[in-house]
């Protein structure tokens, strides 16, 4: 077990954002939390990262945490290389991860010269360079072209196969969830609660699953 959440509740003032969420994550597992926009996904990741107060219990059993933020959060006055150097001293590790994510040749670029896809690659490589035991990903591929999205996910999976860390990704994109997850927890509209769990196998019928999830969300809105 890498992390375990028990009965997590969270409100911002009167706004209830998270309701009774519990789950646990085993080592090497890729978990996706799939929920509609504004349901509280970012808040949940922030709770896990220790950036937000909450009610309930979080049991942490990992050393290093990598966090791919929803916004790139790159230091604008530093080159890509120096941005990674900010979190990791080891030059060899920095070079390797930049090569894995195919941005090594841009290592001396300033962030404002980069496209959105490249910024996300930097955001991701900063999370990976520290060799995390748990990697949090907050809609990391939203707003990227489908082929760029695929490419980055592939590079990420290559690194995962090498190092076998655990991942929690949150997204509202069903396709993305199926692409990456071993297990999907479907979240309701705000306040988020877990309304369904899917184990993803090779033989999964993507279309059927997509229809089912959309159905779930629509019903939930009516209720």
């Amino acid at each position: 077990m890498v992390i375990k959440l028990e009965n997590i509740n969270k409100s911002f003032g009167k706004l209830k954002v998270i309701e009774n969420i519990s789950f646990s994550l085993s080592k090497g597992e890729k978990l996706v939390l799939l929920g509609p926009s504004g349901c509280g996904k970012t808040t949940l990741l922030r709770i896990i990262a220790g950036l937000e107060s909450f009610e309930g219990i979080v049991i942490k059993n990992f050393k290093k945490l990598g966090y791919v933020f929803q916004e790139p959060r790159i230091i604008p006055w530093k080159t890509i290389y120096k941005n990674l150097k900010f979190v990791e001293e080891n030059d060899k590790k920095i070079e390797n991860i930049l090569k894995t994510l195919k941005i090594y040749e841009f290592k001396d670029y300033y962030p404002n010269k980069l496209s959105g896809g490249m910024k996300q690659r930097v955001n991701l490589s900063r999370a990976l360079v520290i060799e995390p035991d748990l990697l949090l990903l907050d809609e990391p591929f939203a707003s990227l072209d489908i082929h760029i999205k695929w490419n980055i996910i592939n590079d990420l999976l290559n690194e995962w196969r090498k190092r076998n860390f655990s991942m929690i990704m949150v997204t509202h994109d069903i396709k993305e969830a199926i692409m990456l997850g071993d297990r999907i927890l479907v979240l309701s509209n705000r306040p988020s609660k877990i309304i369904k769990e899917y184990i993803i196998s090779e033989k999964i019928n993507e279309e059927k699953l997509t229809r089912e999830i959309i159905e779930l969300w629509t019903h939930e809105v009516k209720a």
Binding site: Y67, W77, Y110, N112
Partner: protein, 245 residues
């Protein structure tokens, strides 16, 4: 080139006006002043005075930046400090040089410390505010990112706070270097023992108007030179922040 034409036109107007006014005490002709100018730049007195002024300017600049940085940094990270210090600095900002004079003369009499203190006091508020706003403007998202990755305090200070204060400091430096000499000369004039300001005071005492003008030209040249120099300095340093363009 345009700069030169500007100066030529300026001298021409000056010359015409001096012919019309025709009084050595109000407006001596450019030629008279020029002669005096070339006379005085050959005297040791002038260069000693200049050394003294530059020395004071340099010390004042360093003190201003040092104190401004420390105060500004704390004002930036601590809202309470900001609220406490803001009114004090705002008052300082509007105290006329002449009022500091009373205090300074009472404390140290005529000498070197007075002009330095007055200069620091008049330049400090702007510098401090610049640093404080720079620190306050440090991106909260980046600070949070640093926290998640357990980045050391030292690195956060150097790479995040200094990085975002940088551009503010450089603009402050430009403003300060533009005003530095004016304040230095005035305070020398009022309570200095030597320096360009003191030279002007003496020339005035002996009603040597051409010399006052010649010294003024000298001061103007010094001001322009130091502004150019600081712009160059800023440009070199801004390389680190060139992401902005």
């Amino acid at each position: 080139m345009k700069f030169l034409y500007g100066i030529l036109i300026f001298i021409l107007i000056w010359w015409v006006l001096s012919v019309f006014i025709n009084s050595l005490f109000i407006l001596p002709s450019p030629l008279t002043v020029g002669k005096v100018f070339f006379e005085i730049i050959q005297t040791k007195t002038l260069w000693d005075a200049l050394t003294s002024s530059i020395y004071k300017g340099f010390i004042a600049l360093i003190l201003t930046i040092l104190i401004g940085f420390i105060l500004g940094f704390f004002m930036g990270i601590c809202d309470f400090c900001f609220e406490i210090l803001r009114p004090i600095l705002t008052v300082f900002q509007s105290v006329p040089v002449i009022s500091w004079l009373v205090l300074v003369i009472f404390l140290w009499g005529i000498g070197t410390r007075g002009p330095i203190a007055i200069t620091v006091l008049s330049l400090l508020p702007n510098t401090t505010f610049a640093v404080a706003y720079g620190v306050k403007n440090t991106d909260k998202n980046l600070l949070e990112m640093a926290k998640v990755y357990n980045v050391s305090k030292k690195k956060i200070f150097k790479d995040l706070y200094l990085g975002s204060v940088g551009p503010f400091i450089l603009t402050a430096l430009e403003v300060v270097s533009g005003n530095l000499w004016k304040v230095i000369f005035v305070s020398e004039y009022l309570c200095g023992k030597n320096g360009i300001g003191v030279q002007i005071a003496w020339a005035r005492q002996y009603v040597d108007i051409p010399k006052v003008y010649a010294l003024t030209i000298f001061a103007v040249v010094l001001g322009i030179l130091s502004e150019r120099l600081s712009k160059l300095f800023v440009k070199i340093f801004l390389k680190d922040w060139e992401y902005g363009n």
